[in-house]
């Protein structure tokens, strides 16, 4: 069995005694308190490499002197429940734990960081952030797309900012990684940490991303509406498009949390639309038998079925623009049943903005406290180019390069999908 310690980059040697030493109940994390990557015995003896991650937590020695330390925060990409919790707790921990007095919130994402001369950053302190977590969204606002790395670094230098916290998804983490790498090339002593935000829960080495539980809790209420509507009329179908560009975690979790979903379609497992055992056929059979149905489809599912003649398009962040599988399914079902002379009634739900803009629920809110505090501990000790993650049941440090090298996916032969199949009783024939 191969094994490997996952290395985390550091700006320099941590020599300064932590101000947390004064607090008697703090137990510092020390060398060797590492966390393993795999919890299954079989995995250890297999081809997989067993990895050890640094445990997160406060260190006895830190790198940055608290006096005059300046920090910055930026939020990028789509909204997600919990962003304001993360901002709040980074500010509170820096201020009250480590005595940092100057914390800048760059507005409108990386664009606002790059253009900080035009778009004035906000000054953040515990009073300003006191109750921001009771609202959804980001008090710093957000934007999409990359900016010039050096321009952003120059903005940090100009403001003497030594630690940058970038809250965002895949693109944001790649951006943070680029900033960290370029900082090294320029021999600067600025730490960069990301807090991984992905409502889709698709980042590797993270058990669940913050906001994910809130998201499927909200989605589950939408399923209630879809279910009620579907039962309200003859041959009525509640069709719900949920988030999930390349991973079906929200669709799957919502299906399990609610159990009124009859068909759950996700990007990882291609489904058959027409012909024997395809969605249209099994739907017809179900309507005949039950009179109603609920379908959940992740936005990234079934892309292979749609040919709108436009080819592959990309958005400002460089992500592939998905074809609208919800609208496509609605149209396909309507046309199919019209051909068969069966009147059907489709109620279409597209609740993504409603779901992602609400505040974090209690579990996510508590989770954000842990992510934020541990990220502060890591950076103040000089770590950089990394993020904090909850892995199994503890918090660890993960290099940004590892976090962005692939997407986490629903395993078609794993526990989650097995449970979804069992809960929906959707036929295996649906999937190719």
């Amino acid at each position: 069995m191969k094994s490997k310690m996952v290395n985390i980059k550091k700006i320099g040697k941590a020599k300064i005694p932590s101000p947390l030493r004064k607090i008697k109940w703090v137990r510092f994390v020390s060398e060797g308190d590492d966390v393993i990557s795999h919890i299954h015995r079989r995995s250890f003896s297999g081809e997989d490499e067993l990895k050890y991650f640094e445990a997160a937590g406060p260190r006895e020695k830190i790198y940055y002197k608290s006096e005059n330390l300046k920090c910055g925060i930026v939020t990028c990409g789509g909204l997600c429940p919990g962003i304001n919790d993360i901002i709040r707790e980074i500010v509170v921990k820096l201020y009250q734990g480590y005595g940092v007095r100057e914390i800048k919130g760059f507005r409108y994402g990386y664009r606002g960081l790059a253009k900080a001369d035009e778009i004035k950053p906000m000054s953040l302190d515990p009073d300003v952030v006191d109750s921001i977590h009771t609202d959804g969204g980001s008090i710093l606002s957000s934007s999409r797309g990359p900016q010039e790395t050096d321009e952003m670094i120059d903005a940090l230098i100009k403001r003497d900012i030594k630690i940058l916290y970038a809250i965002g998804g895949d693109g944001t983490m790649k951006g943070a990684h680029d900033i960290a790498r370029r900082i090294k090339e320029r021999c600067l002593d600025i730490s960069v940490a990301a807090v991984a935000k992905t409502i889709d829960n698709d980042i590797p080495y993270i058990d669940r991303s913050f906001g994910f539980e809130t998201a499927f809790q909200a989605a589950s209420e939408i399923i209630d509406s879809a279910h009620t509507e579907s039962k309200g009329y003859e041959n009525c179908i509640g069709l719900v498009k949920l988030m999930g560009r390349s991973s079906g975690f929200i669709a799957s979790a919502t299906t399990l949390a609610n159990r009124n979903v009859n068909y759950c379609l996700i990007p990882e497992i291609p489904f058959k639309l027409k012909g024997d055992g395809g969605l249209l056929e099994v739907l017809k059979e179900r309507l005949h038998r039950k009179g109603h149905a609920v379908i959940v489809v992740a936005e990234g599912a079934g892309q292979n079925h749609i040919d709108d003649g436009k080819g592959v398009e990309k958005d400002a962040s460089g992500n592939v623009k998905l074809k609208d599988i919800g609208v496509y399914l609605k149209k396909s079902i309507e046309e199919h049943f019209a051909d068969e002379n069966i009147p059907v009634n489709i109620k279409y739900f597209n609740p993504s903005y409603i779901i992602r803009s609400i505040p974090a629920n209690a579990a996510d809110s508590m989770y954000c406290v842990n992510l934020a505090q541990n990220t502060v501990h890591a950076t103040i000790s000089g770590r950089t180019d990394m993020m904090v993650s909850k892995c199994h049941s503890d918090y660890i440090h993960v290099p940004l390069s590892m976090a962005t090298e692939k997407r986490k996916k629903v395993d078609s032969r794993g526990r989650l999908w097995r449970t979804v199949m069992g809960a929906t009783h959707q036929p295996a024939s649906l999937f190719i």
Copy 2:
């Protein structure tokens, strides 16, 4: 000042002592306990006719003998919070108040009534309906569109049903009125009452329709999401389409309940889209000043702006199919700002199915109890071709002909709209 007593039709003379007499705390409603239509002194002396309505409530003498009395319930049209409360309370009051033991629930609206031989009605009793009000929708399901009046009457005769309760909107009430009229022509002793269901709150002589408060409570939460999204990005607009085919009550009430709405557009008061003082111009000015905006548009607003080349189309119930003002506004705004080279971000919300499918809130639920109980009292005493309404602060009897002769509208010079204008600070120039 002219004044007039509003006459309610009766199947026959109420001669049977009410079984409620045994209950000492019941005070029966008697002759002369009428309710006036206008509460403003000025109205009395004006050209308006002062009307007196019969007060609703239990009568000392009833028309139908409870033993062997059979009743039917049918629900038609769109879902609305509270339908199950109405069903539940009609059943409970008939069963426990008046001793009725056979209550049929016709499934799938008037279609299920006309085709009751094929679509088996449900048997309803207090056990069956005990907790149905905790779910949205209708346990009887619904359908749209009219059916043959005589076919429906024949289904009632065949099942010996003496009282029919039809829960539904404008079309349903017209249908109930037709059934009642035809019953009279055929000299039958069957009472027909409607319970007015309109999430739009647009029925005359009704202060508020059941489900309306629940609807704007739910809509107000959607505005929170739209507001959060709009503040999440630069030049971002949260655009929310709400219910309201010909009346802007939901849009107006939601605007007042939430107060994060900047523009509220309703069917009754045409708005200007382009040019000086039009929506696009004031929106540009606001984005420049504030960076974000929330627009609420009722589905029936701004129809004059849309020419899709298809002319007027109608649905199964004969209602004019509305052009999609939400999608049209989204496109118009996008095109306008693209022309002006101003990048904008529009988050579009279309939450109607989410709003209408939830259970009634506490106030609506209590209201439904009153509507249902008073409807039962009215019909058991032989009244027909009528509905119960809350007018000012009491419950009255209204003939179906009056309830369907026009739509209730938001008065452009009345209190509601004045308060909406004051709460949004939208400029008067917007409205023509």
Copy 3:
């Protein structure tokens, strides 16, 4: 039939043209647009005096010049959903409608007004109050008990405040009335208006008080918990004490909204505890038959049953301290069934603080907008010693003396109680 116009006091003659004149959609309320007190025809011919109230709304001529006008707000007594909505809308309407630029919020109720030199008032403007309505409570905080009238008036004079808004219950309104009367004696030109806050809904001439719907919505959820608990064990009773010192409106409305309540006990209608047909006996019978029960008791109910040997005690505001009927009932039931050798399980709920501290729901929030705006219109036109009320379906002006002369009560022979009896099926024998 006697009839009478209800007179509202004015500080002086309104001569100044309203700044709202510039707004084309405002229709001013004029003389004779009065609202009647009774809507039942029978009432008109009875012994009751028919009253006409001034309709609320903006006046074409106002009394106070907006420039340099200073206003004050104070909140007293118990918390209630909607206080922050009222504060917010008074501030917004004064500021944006009438151009008032100096609005002081006195902290901690009348005590903070009397001691304004020590307890610094807050400066209020639309930015400060922008989102306060999303939280429960009062941003101004509150206190109980009266203060020296002249001391409070002196605080107003010292700050040149011309209009005082006092948000509070019965004691607060009496206090406001005293202030207004004393202002007249001292020949000052200061207007005083109250906004009637009573979660108990017990103020006369007010259809419903703000916060009331929110309160019984929250209470209804508590009943769900009590019902679930009661069904969780053998012979289990969910006992819920709700607000209602002298009026059973919350207990009654909650019972109707939820319908899982089996016994609803209110102050107005004495109930029998022991002996034939008393609560203990009917409860025993129900437990035998069903195994569980839910009891709702208003805090002011059944005071005659409790003799704690302490006689009548009073609180800081001079209100009689109620004996704890919830705890008393719990003990009485436990003892009774212990005597009968029947094991019972009582789950006791006392949720008043949970209920009263939440934010207003949508209907209450909209209602507060109307109350606050109309109160501003009334005071700016020079009216004083009054409050705005919703009566039937419109807003009116009511003198404080009328509003405090008695309590609104549940009529044991009226519609509300009839519906409660019908919904619970509690036996008439319970009530004496």
Copy 4:
């Protein structure tokens, strides 16, 4: 480093091919797919023994033939969000996964199992349980206290029940363990599995117990009320007693989820009440500085402070009756500040019944699906005297003896308490 495989008892050898084999997407769990007990590298080399647990999931060979297999379910102890989800999913998986057609629900806990001849069990199938998870509580009802083991076994034998599922806490699991042990002595082939229910989250080898996240989500809303009340008056304290007999997990998680808590008192970490640095002193200092405070106290905290002269008392289940720390603290604070002549206002909240009676939130509901399905898989394969647990990020089998040998506690030097101390800023002096 010592290591050990945790052994799970089996009724007999699993020889029957699983009916799930027909389903192509099921991957069976096989030998060696074990899960480790410790994820920290340091733990491995320490004195702790490294344990390997069987991974949960479907097995290729099962023990019980589905035809004619009869199963039973019983729910014991206090209510907890998710019980109905567990019941539902056990029934659905047995019925639809393994073809079991006879499932009995014993009512009122072990008492109903022992007295099954008197208290008729319910027949459960997917239709009966279809929507039970939308309500809190247990459709089977519950009871406290042990019953004769042999009496319960005889009831199983009489009904030919081969698998018993006992949903309950510590006492219930001990009872299930006794049943399993006695079954072995009597050489019967009946499997017994527990599903660990503890809202306190205090069972070892379980990351979190079902209902726990729902509980602290509900508790967090109560803190909002307490916080609002505390800010509503001068020197006002919101005092909230939460669940947690011997473990402070709910109090701690609620504190982290809400962050308006100033003092969090739990059973594991004794606090000082009087004298230097004690609660009364730090509270006085805070009231002086801030004017309000929120205290959360777990019901098992501070028992050492209370001497009511009654000594140790026990309830029907044999648990020590806790002294009421909430009431005691309230009184102590009131007396202390009365002595100091400082008027304070305490708002006391005791929301346990409200919290535990609500339905599971989405995350708990999904979690229950996994627990229930895996428990069915385990028992059908012949495993007994065990429970399923989520450990780190996967599901494992745990012998009942291990699950009941101790309580899980908050570690005063661990991450959770460190984060609580950091979030509240309560002084270390408070704790002895």
